[in-house]
């Protein structure tokens, strides 16, 4: 399992792991907000639940990492269903504000919970997240998301996004699909949280505030809502940009804020809006083909 260790300098390895974790988190949110069109401003809350659950399982109960990962996902999904059941009946911005509220409430509860260290946080989580297991989990999540997008389930979710009433008229049980979708989205958030916990090894409630949710949402919107390759690109860029801007650490967040505005003005549909892997492959293939044709043409002339 350890053949990837030490292959890259620790700094780059750490960045790639972070990118992988954000890809997992952003794909979960992309399913909720991009594919199904339900704006969630509390994605970090489910990441937080996953992180704390996995930390308890692996640190306090001493169980293996894979168990911690699964528990993190399942507990996050249970919370997702629990919150989603009343909240998914609301529409649009009311849903957004309820998910936001849930995130803030969770943060307050964790602050006041001595078992998980309260405001001081939880330290001493074993460093189990490696480059290899992050890449494997990220790949699994990507494949599942791509397969799901093309399934009957995924098409129903898109129908709900485009017009919920029309979708219901076509016989789609919108509420049930939304709830299932929310459970899957929060499950991935839990997975991402577990990887995160075992990477940074210290958990503090304030790390999972509103800004973290926004950070993940930015990735999805910047990449292009509903586009899986776009989300991957968005997660990669927005993890890399603050690293690249590290030379001007003072101005870093100011530039980041300005960049968000500028990018939205020039690409309001995100960098890869409405692009899935099929279209991406076709486009690459077309470029490749035209190049080939050009070669042939020039060959004939010659």
């Amino acid at each position: 399992m350890a053949f990837l260790d030490g292959l890259l300098p620790a700094y780059y390895e750490s960045i790639i792991i972070t990118v992988g974790i954000y890809i997992i988190l952003a794909l979960g949110l992309n399913l909720i907000t991009g594919v199904t069109g339900q704006l969630s401003l509390g994605h970090a809350a489910y990441m937080c639940i996953g992180a704390y659950t996995s930390a308890i399982v692996s640190m306090k109960l001493g169980l293996p990492f894979i168990v911690a990962l699964l528990c993190a996902g399942i507990v996050a999904a249970i919370f997702g269903i629990f919150i989603g059941f009343p909240v998914l009946r609301l529409t649009g911005d009311y849903l957004a504000i309820c998910t936001l509220g849930f995130g803030e409430i969770l943060k307050s509860i964790l602050f006041n919970m001595p078992y998980v260290g309260g405001a001081m946080g939880m330290a001493g989580i074993p460093p189990k997240t490696t480059l290899l297991n992050t890449i494997i989990i990220a790949l699994i999540v990507i494949i599942v998301m791509v397969r799901m997008e093309r399934s009957r389930f995924g098409r129903s979710l898109v129908a709900i996004r485009e017009d919920e009433i029309a979708a219901e008229c076509m016989g789609i049980n919108a509420f049930r699909y939304k709830l299932q979708m929310f459970a899957i989205g929060t499950f991935t958030a839990g997975l991402g949280g577990a990887l995160w916990a075992h990477k940074i090894m210290v958990l503090q409630p304030r790390d999972f505030g509103f800004m973290k949710s926004i950070e993940i949402l930015n990735m999805v919107v910047l990449g292009g809502l509903g586009s899986i390759p776009g989300t991957i690109l968005g997660a990669t860029l927005l993890t890399a940009i603050p690293e690249i801007l590290r030379f001007s650490s003072e101005y870093r967040m100011v530039i980041y804020g300005a960049l968000l505005v500028i990018m939205m003005i020039f690409r309001p549909h995100g960098l890869m809006g409405n692009t899935d892997f099929n279209k991406l492959a076709k486009r690459t293939f077309r470029v490749f083909n035209t190049n080939n044709n050009k070669d042939k043409k020039s060959g004939m002339e010659g």
Partner: protein, 298 residues
Amino acid sequence: MLSNFFVQLMNGIALGSTYALIALGYTMVYGIILLINFAHGEIFMSGAFVGLILVTVFHVHIIIAFLGAMLFCMIMGVIIEKIAYKPLRRSTRLAALISAIGVSIFLSNLANLIFGANPTSYPPTKEILFPVKSFELFAGAQVTNLQILIIATSAILMIILQYFIKNTRIGKAMRATSQDYDTAALMGINVNKIISYTFAIGSSLAAAGGVLVGIYFGVVKYNMGTLVGLKAFTAAVLGGIGSIPGAMFGGIALGIGEMFAVAIGLSSYRDAIAFGILIIVLLVKPTGLFGTEIQKKV
């Protein structure tokens, strides 16, 4: 017991009226362009800092500083709308939302660069305004003159706003635009101008709230806008977003609820209370307390 109740009630109304001032900006902007203006909390923060600079650096009277902060933020709000939201008016609402978040991150970190990460304190009230005195209304029920000032100022601003919306030509145009954007434009209303007015009014009210909070609590910080902004937005949703009386009521209800929660010993859950109230209200009445139900059509 009763006197304690009264004291907490006054604390709650004073805090709540500042929430209400900020909530008005959220609700007005949302009513017209359906955007959660996340930068609004930062405008509130800027108002507080502009007021502070005018008082400490330029040594003007606090009332002039108050009006100056309102004017500054009025211009700032209009400029932000022109740069960050206007180009996105015809694209998805989420794009505008992210743009608003970008402005918010930009402004709060700019304030962090300029003023530093530590809280800056306002000059003491007795130097810029008057010495704080408590009045006893009846058996132990106290209210300070500062609280009365804050409540009165907010009330005056809200009455002016209400008059403006109900009785002027621009107010009428605003109401028309919030009812139906496209039809209003067809009726010859200059929608761009109305949106600018909305941002100007909302931002100046937020600045007023900022200076009042600065005087009341005595400190301002670069990130004060985020949480207060979220709470004010919560207040706007609580009252029914898009409804102006709703925002006033929601703000005051939230302030009172928060103060009573602190009084009964839940102070460590203070920030959670607002959101807890919100979620319960939304589950019972999803349009908020004063909101009107919008019929969905196929």
